[in-house]
């Protein structure tokens, strides 16, 4: 449940005061129930409504198990809500056909997973450019695009390495490069600082903040106070996860 959606920068008289950025992503009364037909019904998210605007970092804040990852998955079209709807530029995601939804995920959304989710045994450049394959982009172009993104994140010499050969921080930055390789309108990051050291965390947050200021919708799910400090908007979730029956 949304309990707080505050514009911290606006309250502080920051750059957000110039007016709200155009809304591209919106959750309307979104809820998610797992195993609805069984005796182990789990309510993971209950009627969350929130606009996610470009122009600043948006943090979904809350303790573990409150539904941050679930909400992020729903916003990125990786899952569908049980109730309510997610809209992108006013279009509900559940009205999109499967190919349209795939195209949305491929071209408009970058998703930074909590545990990176890079393919083991595959070179970084191929991992980073994986989402370009269905568009028929040549290997050379994919390699160039991946190389550019890796270079932005300080991994320019590691394109031919596999994830197993990298440190945790490097893997996480490579995952961020994958999320950014298509230059998406929306970037969704799930606990981007939870598994890396402070220096790497600061670097990742700097990139996310820069993207947000560049006009992207950047939504970060986190329970890290350091991330919350960097946010322009904070949506605080209380733990709604509860099991019914069973």
């Amino acid at each position: 449940m949304t309990v707080d959606g505050t514009d911290r920068t606006a309250a502080a008289g920051g750059e957000g005061a110039s007016g709200p950025a155009p809304c591209v992503l919106e959750a309307r009364g979104v809820g998610k129930v797992y195993h609805p037909a069984s005796s182990r019904v789990v309510v993971a998210l209950d009627r969350v409504s929130q606009r996610f605007e470009a122009g600043g970092l948006h943090v979904i804040w809350g303790p573990s198990g409150c539904g941050k990852t679930t909400l992020l998955s729903l916003l990125g079209g990786l899952d569908m809500p049980t109730t309510g709807e997610v809209l992108v530029d006013g279009t509900p995601l559940d009205r999109l056909s499967e190919p349209e939804l795939s195209l949305f995920r491929r071209r408009r959304v970058g998703f930074l997973f909590q545990n990176s989710n890079l393919l083991a045994g595959v070179p970084l450049w191929a991992n980073v450019s994986l989402s370009m394959v269905p568009d028929g982009i040549s290997s050379a172009s994919r390699r160039a695009a991946a190389g550019a993104r890796l270079a932005e994140l300080g991994l320019e010499d590691l394109g031919d390495r596999t994830p197993e050969e990298l440190s945790g921080g490097e893997v996480h930055r490579a995952a961020l490069a994958r999320a950014l390789v298509r230059d998406p309108d929306i970037l969704l990051a799930d606990e981007p600082t939870s598994q890396i050291d402070e220096a790497n965390a600061a670097g990742v947050m700097a990139v996310l903040d820069r993207l947000a200021r560049a006009g992207k919708v950047v939504v970060v799910a986190s329970h890290d106070r350091f991330v919350r400090e960097a946010a322009r908007w904070v949506t605080e979730l209380k733990s709604t996860r509860r099991a019914i029956g069973g």
Partner: protein
């Protein structure tokens, strides 16, 4: 271009899991190699049999006693030769006997124009039998059945003479009559009718009619009929082999499906990730189809290669005996085998079907699930 990039990615993803990849290909090869061996030997034996029938007489005449084949008087051979449409006729005795505990076929041939026949007191021995018994031209051979004979080996038949002659002893008709104590009798009569395009069939009928009028109880079989018997006999053997094989396949299919589903959770996770990154269901299915096609083609090629080695280097061990009665290991220099394209295509189709069930279907299931579920 899109399909090309998907194709390469599918191949890269397939070889990323070498254990899964090679275990599946290995299972397919283990299943299909014996089938290709069996089909190749069946076709080889069929081709050799048909060639043998084609080279044989136009009419095969035997006696008919109590509903079974019986011998006929040798005098009938001469009478046949005088029939107007007969170009050539000869009597034959075909029997079996043991020599040093080895079962062998004895063929006694009567003289006929243009056909080679061993002279009296001489035997021609098949290559495999000669090698087995260490017989060379000039050796002496003692045969015993109803009577006893000692013959000089005049010739060892060429190994290329074919499967039928590999364990054969050819004698003159007179010697064979002594061996089986059937003086003045032959077991069958081979008759060649003068060729002549459209008149050939009529001439066959005429000869058959003339033979009927001799008063002897005879069973007359045309070349076509003998060919059909051979073909039917081989079809029954082939059918039996295929039935047995299908039973074995039925047992192996679940194992194969388990193998191709080996690492299913990893595959599901990978598909979930690809879906999360924007791959559509069609993209995922296309990749699974490419992987299926690659493994099908590879396993078919390997099966073919192994089957060829099995036939040529191992003489079709364990499988050839199903098609060639009385065959012992090493008894022929070359197992008759013909690798036709049809069985290879059948194997390719079967491999594709089995893999589709184990791979494309599971990929489809994962691809149609929401990415979050597949990634979980």
């Amino acid at each position: 271009m899109k399909h090309w990039t998907l194709l390469w990615l599918a191949l890269e993803m397939a070889v990323r899991h070498p254990v899964r990849f090679w275990a599946t290909v290995g299972c397919l090869v283990a299943v299909f190699t014996p089938l290709l061996v069996g089909m190749a030997i069946l076709e080889g034996v069929r081709a050799e049999s048909i060639a043998s029938v084609d080279e044989g007489p136009d009419l095969l005449v035997t006696g008919y006693e109590y509903g079974r084949n019986g011998s006929v008087a040798e005098a009938l051979v001469e009478r046949c030769r005088r029939l107007p449409d007969v170009s050539r006729a000869r009597g034959r005795i075909v029997g079996r006997t043991f020599l040093s505990d080895r079962l062998l076929t004895v063929v006694g041939l009567g003289r006929s124009d243009g056909l080679p026949v061993p002279p009296e007191g001489e035997a021609w021995v098949g290559a495999a039998l000669a090698a087995d018994l260490k017989i060379v031209a000039g050796s002496y051979l003692s045969l015993a059945d109803q009577g006893e004979l000692t013959l000089r080996v005049g010739r060892v038949l060429s190994p290329r003479a074919g499967l039928a002659s590999s364990r054969l002893v050819m004698l003159s008709l007179k010697d064979a009559q002594k061996l089986y104590e059937t003086p003045g009798r032959v077991f069958d009569l081979q008759i060649w009718v003068r060729p002549g395009e459209d008149r050939h069939a009529r001439r066959l009928l005429q000869v058959a009619y003339d033979l009927r009028t001799t008063g002897h109880p005879l069973r007359i079989q045309t070349k076509k009929l003998v060919g059909e018997y051979v073909d039917r006999g081989l079809s029954i053997k082939g059918g039996t082999f295929q039935a047995l094989y299908l039973v074995a396949l039925g047992v192996l299919v679940p194992a194969l499906l388990v193998t191709s589903g080996f690492g299913l959770s990893t595959r599901r996770w990978e598909i979930g990730l690809m879906k999360a990154l924007g791959f559509s269901v069609v993209d995922v299915i296309e990749m699974a189809a490419v992987e299926t096609a690659a493994m099908s083609v590879l396993s078919t090629c390997l099966s073919f290669l192994l089957a060829w080695c099995w036939v040529r280097l191992l003489e079709g061990a364990l499988v050839a005996q199903l098609f060639i009665a009385g065959l012992e290991q090493g008894s022929v220099s070359e197992i008759p085998a013909r690798f036709a394209p049809e069985p290879v295509l059948i194997v390719l189709a079967l491999a594709a079907i089995l893999l589709s069930a184990g791979l494309v279907y599971t990929s489809y299931r994962s691809a149609t699930a929401r990415p979050v579920e597949a990634l979980r």
